[in-house]
Amino acid sequence: MMSFSLWDIVRNLLVGGALTLLLSLAAFVLGGATGLAVLLARIGRRRAPRALARMYIELFQGTPLLLQLFTLFFGLSLFGLDVPAWLAAGLGLTLFTSAFLAEIWRGCVEAVPRGQWEASACLALTYREQMRHVILPQAMRLAVAPTVGFAVQVVKSTAVTSIIGFTELTKTGSMIANATYQPFLVYSLVALGYFVLCYPLSHYAKSLERRLHAAR
């Protein structure tokens, strides 16, 4: 029987942790960009894109992330597309993130007082000009703290991708646990890994919230 030193365990978990970080970053950046497009459709004045964006958001908010991943991973292979686990994981999390961010940001746009719309309309600004110069800059300020807060959720959600076989932190952990028969130690280390990633983020979100609140 092979024996594992603590360093062997940690070393492998670090590799898995790096993949978790990478997946979180990719999901957040790509999901943010997609989410912005969904947001603009959702709050725009054209009816069809607005309805589509709403359906998109409801679809991804109303179903478990796990099933979204299964659908991508197994569903697409039914059409003869061979989807590797990393691609299904990245794509699934991106879609999931975009729907949630679009909805969070919509709340921020709607939190900008109506008087701001009226005042800018009176100055003859068009809808686009109002958005660009008056509404979005204020909404962005409101959005910073909840967005960083949601990043914590994204990091933790990446754990679900272990089920379709993407070897991020959790999957790495379960493989090592099976090989070492030390699940308590290994899973404790895995949890610590998530904590190390998430704690600074949630701390940052909290301090941003305080700062931006005080500045208003």
């Binding site: 009226e118 309309a121 009176c122 100055l123 600004l125 110069h133 208003r216």
Partner: protein, 245 residues
């Protein structure tokens, strides 16, 4: 020809018939004060004049630009709004922009005025409301009265033909009311066309050329303020001014 002219203006909020056929003509340089009880439709009337509220029937014409029902012509709405400035009860300054940027935004974005020229205009307009030194301040660093004067400067920077004032002193602490009213008085003296909804009866009486009393969605009585205050012709207006004291 009047500068502002409305004909058989009707407006509903759901089943509530808030404007019931308004005919109003305002000449250039005229100062109009619209008064009435709350719910009489006075603010709604003001807000239809620059298309903040759409209308259900009738026409609005400002300096040759005609606004129809439904605002189906965005070009006309934009043209009209460049001629009609508005100042609100709650100031509605843009909190993320400095005073100077608040005033230059519309000239730069809508009229494509070059930055330096726009800043020149902004400085002059801020001087005009007595806030020349506040160009770089942010709205939350100003008192309510100062914010309202910036809002006036912001409207003036678009060189509107007519300025709408919607209860612009109602949200102010009593000691700040006069600094705003004196700016309005000065604008009136300079020949600005003003249409204001106000609760400051004494001010309305002093400054306005014509008083418009609204009651149940109609212009119930109108005329020179001196005349109306000394000889109200309708019992509703008599009871309205009676209830003020």
């Amino acid at each position: 020809m009047p500068l502002v002219s409305t004909r058989r203006l009707h407006k509903f909020f759901g089943r509530n018939h808030v404007l019931r056929g308004i005919k109003l003509d305002v000449e250039e340089s005229e100062v109009i004060a619209i008064v009435g009880r709350s719910g009489s439709g006075k603010s709604t009337l003001l807000r239809t004049l620059n298309g903040l509220e759409n209308i259900d029937d009738g026409t609005i014409e400002v300096d040759g630009t005609v606004l129809q029902v439904d605002h189906d012509d965005p070009g006309a709405l934009r043209a009209l709004r460049q001629k009609v400035g508005m100042v609100f009860q709650q100031f509605n300054l843009f909190p993320h922009l400095s005073t100077g940027q608040n005033v230059t935004l519309a000239p730069r974005v809508v009229k494509r005025t070059p930055r330096e020229e726009a800043e020149d205009i902004a400085r002059r307009m801020l001087e005009r409301v007595g806030l020349g030194e506040k160009f770089d301040a942010f709205p939350d660093q100003l008192s309510g009265g100062q914010q309202q004067r910036v809002a006036i400067a912001r409207a003036l920077a678009m060189s509107p033909k007519v300025l709408l004032c919607d209860e612009i002193t109602s949200a102010l602490d009593p000691e700040l009311v006069n600094e705003v009213l004196s700016v309005v008085r000065q604008l009136a003296d300079e020949g600005m066309t003003l249409i204001m909804v106000t609760h400051e009866m004494r001010f309305a009486r002093e400054v306005s050329d014509r008083l418009v009393f609204m009651h149940e969605g109609r212009i119930h009585e109108s005329g020179s303020p001196q005349e109306m205050f000394s000889n109200p012709t309708t019992p509703e207006f008599a009871s309205f001014i009676g209830s003020l004291n």
